[in-house]
């Protein structure tokens, strides 16, 4: 089984910051907007390098989305930055009308997504954002798994003409994808080959899926782990091909099972190849305060949960 090593844990938001810094130098049309969370979003370096292209909007996210939409008229490529909760739920109608329906080239970059935001608690831990964003026609939805991939995705979405939701997080997590790797929007990445069960994971759950695959391997179960960084458009072919071989699937995400990656996968499989599926996701609930590790454990979002779900789904084949 192919294994991956952590080259040093880093936060995915810093990957976004690094990508944005690089974009600032390479693309003069890139502008950055922030709603009073410059440090949290790691936008300081872009701001320092290009003060004329950095826009501090203040605590006014609706205005930020509208201004970003307007800036595209004139050829700018705006990257908005705030927490995932304030990037989506708070401004859904602004995104819907001024960005998605209007077809504007705005990149909505959202940090502190999911339950690993931690101690701030449920007011800030959005577990519904993937669902909200994927329902918008024309919206590309990306959830990256580590520092390197977040940086690569940040660079890639600048080249994509159209609205994008880029979701990443707060805590330091293992960094294991290639440095300066390519990022192809909508293209799944197969991390391990396996025959018994397919595990498709997104975001912070990708590393957990690899850990689960190691344990499963020791128990004689061969798991195929696929990193689905793009939830929309979904790489349907990669999912169908894998379950043709394995005959069962586990989906893993730091999101409510309603509206998340798991539901997108079920739709594909229901239509093309009905397959037993287990969901590693939050169970229609809000989060709470705690450390990221405590919360991932309590809400069943770690390698143990994936391993358990894999054994359950295998028995359903």
């Amino acid at each position: 089984m192919k294994t991956y090593s952590n080259t040093g844990s880093k936060d995915t938001r810093s990957g976004f910051g690094a990508g944005l810094t690089e974009l600032g130098k390479s693309n003069e049309n890139v502008v950055a907007l922030c709603a009073d969370l410059t440090g949290s979003l790691k936008m300081d370096e872009f701001k320092a390098n290009h003060p004329e292209r950095f826009f501090q909007i203040g605590i006014a996210e609706a205005n930020m989305i509208g201004i970003a939409a307007g800036m595209t008229i004139g050829g700018k490529i705006p990257f908005t930055g705030t927490f995932a909760n304030f990037s989506t739920g708070r401004v859904y109608d602004q995104i819907r009308q001024s960005v998605a329906y209007s077809g504007k080239n705005v990149k909505i970059c959202a940090s502190h997504a999911g339950i690993t935001l931690g101690e701030d608690g449920a007011t800030h831990q959005i577990l519904e954002d993937i669902g909200l964003m994927k329902m918008l026609p024309g919206m590309t939805v990306i959830n990256t798994c580590d520092f390197n991939q977040t940086k690569a995705a940040t660079l890639a979405i600048a080249k994509h003409d159209g609205p994008v939701y880029l979701r990443f997080g707060r805590p330091k997590v293992p960094n294991f994808t290639p440095e300066n790797g390519t990022f192809e929007i909508g293209k799944a990445v197969k991390l391990t080959e396996g025959n018994d069960v397919t595990i498709v994971a997104t975001g912070h759950l990708v590393w957990e899926a690899l850990e689960a695959a190691k344990s499963l391997n020791e128990a004689g179960i061969s798991a195929e782990v696929i990193n689905i960084h793009t939830i929309k458009p979904l790489d349907e072919k990669a999912i169908i091909e894998s379950v043709e071989k394995t005959g069962c699937i586990v989906t893993a995400e730091e999101h409510n099972y309603l509206g998340g990656l798991g539901e997108s996968v079920s739709r594909v499989l229901a239509k093309h190849r009905p397959t037993p599926q287990e969901f590693v996701a939050t169970n229609d609930t809000f989060g709470e305060s705690g450390t990221p590790a405590q919360l991932m454990n309590k809400y069943g979002l770690n390698s143990d949960a994936i391993e358990k779900a894999s054994k359950i789904v295998l028995a359903r084949k």
């Binding site: 203040g58 609706a62 989305i65 307007g70 595209t72 008229i73 004139g74 700018k76 209007s102």
Partner: protein
């Protein structure tokens, strides 16, 4: 010198277009459209510097954003009669497969439209973004926008109003259609707007009032004043006092025709008060 008679003739024709468009599909918003007919005619014929043809980025020309998208009939009529698309297309307003959707959109590629509007309160933020892009592009042309007075009840406007003065957006002229009416009644009865001049001034804007907002000459004069205030570090608000339903006597001074189409008989009365000038579409 602008030809006032020609502008008034065009306004009369635009009123006919509005009435005929909403009558045909028995839906749409004639009240606010009629109230802003003179403003749109003055804006597109005299006030804005625009290039021939249409491209989305609008570099090197003035741009207009309609925030209160429900007054699409007047927008479509004036765009068509300013050459953005064929006037015969006004026949398709609100019909299936039309580019003239109930509320304006870029989605169907109608020339002249740069943002979708309809869900209220979003246009000022978009206008500020376009104004910031102009500054980044060293393009000294202006951004114009129009907003309903009732629309100011949407909180996003006040985020935008605060941002614009705080960031010296002085290439923006935002006009408020002060007709004092909204769907459920007068703005005073629904949710009083208070003293808009003092509110905008307190937020750091320059304010120009046009008391005769249905008089072309008054509009031209007031907007010239507004333009003269650009480039001085402050955004500009124009308080345009209009009469909802202007030009059709039974539609005036009431909110009743905000979103209601005239029947056959009412259409004939409305049209008889606005005889053909340039020719119907």
């Amino acid at each position: 010198m602008p030809n006032i008679k020609a502008l008034n003739d065009l306004t009369t024709q635009v009123r006919r277009d509005i009435l005929r468009m909403v009558h045909k599909v028995n839906s749409g918003h004639p009240g606010g459209s009629l109230g802003c007919a003179e403003f749109f005619v003055a804006l597109y014929q005299e006030i804005m510097e625009t290039k021939d043809g249409f491209d989305m980025n609008g570099i090197g020309e003035d741009l207009f954003f309609l925030s209160n998208g429900h007054i699409s009939p007047v927008y479509y009529s004036v765009l068509a009669r300013s050459g953005y698309f064929d006037i015969d297309e006004l026949n398709t307003f609100r019909l299936i497969d039309s580019r003239l959707q109930g509320h304006p959109t870029t989605h169907e590629g109608l020339p002249g439209i740069r943002i979708a509007s309809g869900s209220l309160g979003q246009g000022m933020s978009v206008s500020i973004g376009a104004a910031e892009a102009k500054k980044l592009n060293n393009d000294d042309h202006l951004i114009f926008s129009l907003h309903g007075d009732g629309e100011l009840q949407e909180g996003q406007n006040w985020e935008a109003i605060m941002y614009a003065s705080g960031n010296n957006i002085d290439n923006l002229i935002s006009t408020i259609d002060v007709n004092g009416q909204q769907i459920d009644g007068s703005t005073d009865n629904v949710l009083p707007l208070g003293d808009l001049r003092r509110k905008f001034e307190a937020f750091g804007w320059s304010v120009v009032e046009i008391e005769e907002g249905n008089n072309i000459e008054a509009i031209l004069k007031g907007m010239a004043t507004a333009k003269s205030l650009t480039g001085k570090g402050k955004p500009i608000c124009v308080l345009l006092q209009t009469v909802m339903g202007n030009g059709v006597d039974f539609m005036m001074h009431t909110h009743a025709w905000h979103g209601k189409a005239p029947n056959d008989e009412q259409l004939e009365i409305g049209l008889s008060q606005n005889p053909v000038t340039l020719g119907d579409y």
